[in-house]
Subunit: 328 residues, 2 copies
């Protein structure tokens, strides 16, 4: 009784889902849905059909969970509620400020259809959120910190690419070691954006472009760079492709807190990720929550959930007995 | 509508529970139960009664969750099922090999009484188990490692104290830095006990005792020390009390795994704890799960659970809306 997964959108994340499904014997890739012409989309798994996104409803009996692989800006706010009217769904919606609104829309759709939707799955939001929850519940008298990186920020890379004279660019967000050390000490420091992260940029400029102007435009760009110590390197297109084509990321969630009648004892809880491929790791989290969504729905649950709501054991292919024996 | 907590057993862990309850506005300490003469037990919270352990059943209407603070060797196997016949209960049963048996006994009692019992709560078993579960579900093609320390092992300290000529002792378990580095590299090394941990012992000997013999007996003790590199320091009783009276502990759960069609990407998930007080941190985890036990029972659930089963959001005093807004 394999759980049949549909992939809705076949970009980096969708390809990551396809690879992750192969690592889980109890999951099967049933179909891929795309807004492109299906015959132009070549997938890696033999024998699995590629359908037009508009035809998803016709495959309602073939798919147990649809994993939504669109973008958070415009795709998911529309696609996730739409698909939740037909399927159990999982998405990685990550526009933090709009999560309550997205939750409400998806919850309405999934409650009406009797399906389960799990939104904002991945690592942040996702595993980082979970770790903030656990650590905060255990150490209420404390403070938590999130550091991102070292990793590629797509948004910051795009912002550089929009500057006149820039051909291509990659931006790495890098946590500052001294800030990490100060947090781990339990001193509960107040840290500015500049104190927490460095921004390092690798930029390919057009021939003859004014490099000093480009560097200045980057370093003074409001919101993106002005509040940070920013390092700019100009490199060739060949070097960018050779050295900076990966999509690594990661980060740290650290909470320090005190216990004891006199607050005499200090504790540090730290969770960290070091990821070679941001989309493949995110996909691996989504796939585990797709399993949970199918199980929750089979239990009779419906409506919208987040990682904060899902009982951990539902993520694993192993039985509750096995998990207790092996992990506790 | 505060959740009323009972403490069953008033040692280090029970005192930790008492302190932790004060950090949570929605929890109240209702009573302490002891096997000693109640009038000889002085607690830190004014106005809270201390009762004889045998009288617990008389207070069934005053307590929402009983937190069991006895030892795993002989207390909890008997006490937790007994109390689960009357109360929602939480315990920190940590004899790994006997957890399935304890689970079955407690599940029978709690299912019959209609109460919720959460067993094996703390950090290992507990938060470490949870992190093994999440990491394993996300990266099925991987391997995980647990390192303990730097921290005091009560069992190893006791083993040294039983040697003839020893007055007192403290043993620290220390993870080996090179082993941690090898694991984090993603190389999936096979590590022996000796490669993973060092054992450092601070020993107070009787005047005139044969130190060389004591050191040899420690280093060759089967199971406890023979398989490790063990360092023995002889110190005075004053120094032991001054420098080694704390109960620090902690450790690391690390999983590395690969993703991608060709297994081309490597990932590291790491969770670590650095604790000034092992019993106070364990108590803080128990208190959060006591909140969850009360809520699960209020929803109509019954029977035995572990940390693997409990939806994370039930641990927090905050509402689901607040948690989504603040943590996702």
């Amino acid at each position: 009784m394999s759980i049949r997964i549909g992939i809705f959108g076949y970009g980096n994340l969708g390809r990551g889902i396809e690879a992750a499904i192969r690592q889980n014997d109890d999951l099967t890739l049933a179909a891929v849905f795309t807004r492109r012409a299906p015959e132009t989309v070549k997938i890696r798994t033999e024998g699995v059909p590629v359908y037009c996104a508009d035809s998803a409803a016709e495959h309602v009996n073939d798919i147990d969970v649809m994993i939504m692989c669109g973008g958070s800006a415009t795709d998911l706010p529309e696609q996730t509620p739409n698909m939740a009217r037909i399927f159990n769904v999982v998405d990685s919606f990550d526009t933090h400020a709009r999560i309550p609104e997205h939750f409400a829309n998806v919850d309405k759709a999934a409650s009406e259809s009797g399906k389960v939707a799990v939104i904002s799955v991945g690592w942040d939001p996702g595993m980082f959120s979970l770790n903030r929850l656990y650590a905060g519940a255990i150490l209420p008298d404390g403070k938590d910190y999130t550091f991102w990186g070292k990793g590629v920020s797509q948004g910051h890379s795009d912002a550089i690419r929009r500057i006149d004279g820039v051909l291509d660019a990659k931006q790495y967000t890098i946590p500052v070691d001294e800030a990490l050390a100060a947090v781990r000490s339990g001193a509960c420091p107040e840290l500015t954006a500049r104190q927490k992260h460095i921004r390092e940029c690798f930029v390919v400029a057009k021939e003859g472009a004014d490099l000093a102007r480009i560097e200045n435009e980057i370093k003074t760009m409001p919101n993106y760079f002005a509040d940070y110590d920013t390092i700019v390197h100009f490199i060739t297109d060949e070097e960018l492709k050779r050295e900076h084509s990966g999509i690594p990321h990661g980060g740290f969630v650290i909470r320090t807190g005190r216990t004891g009648i006199e607050r005499e004892h200090s504790h540090v809880i730290e969770y960290s990720l070091k990821l070679d491929s941001n989309p493949e790791f995110t996909a691996s989290v989504l796939v585990a929550y797709a399993r949970a969504a199918a199980r929750l729905n089979a239990r009779g649950e419906k409506g919208c959930k987040t990682v904060l709501d899902v009982p951990p054991s539902l993520l694993s292919a192993e039985s509750a007995d096995e998990l207790r024996r092996r992990l506790l």
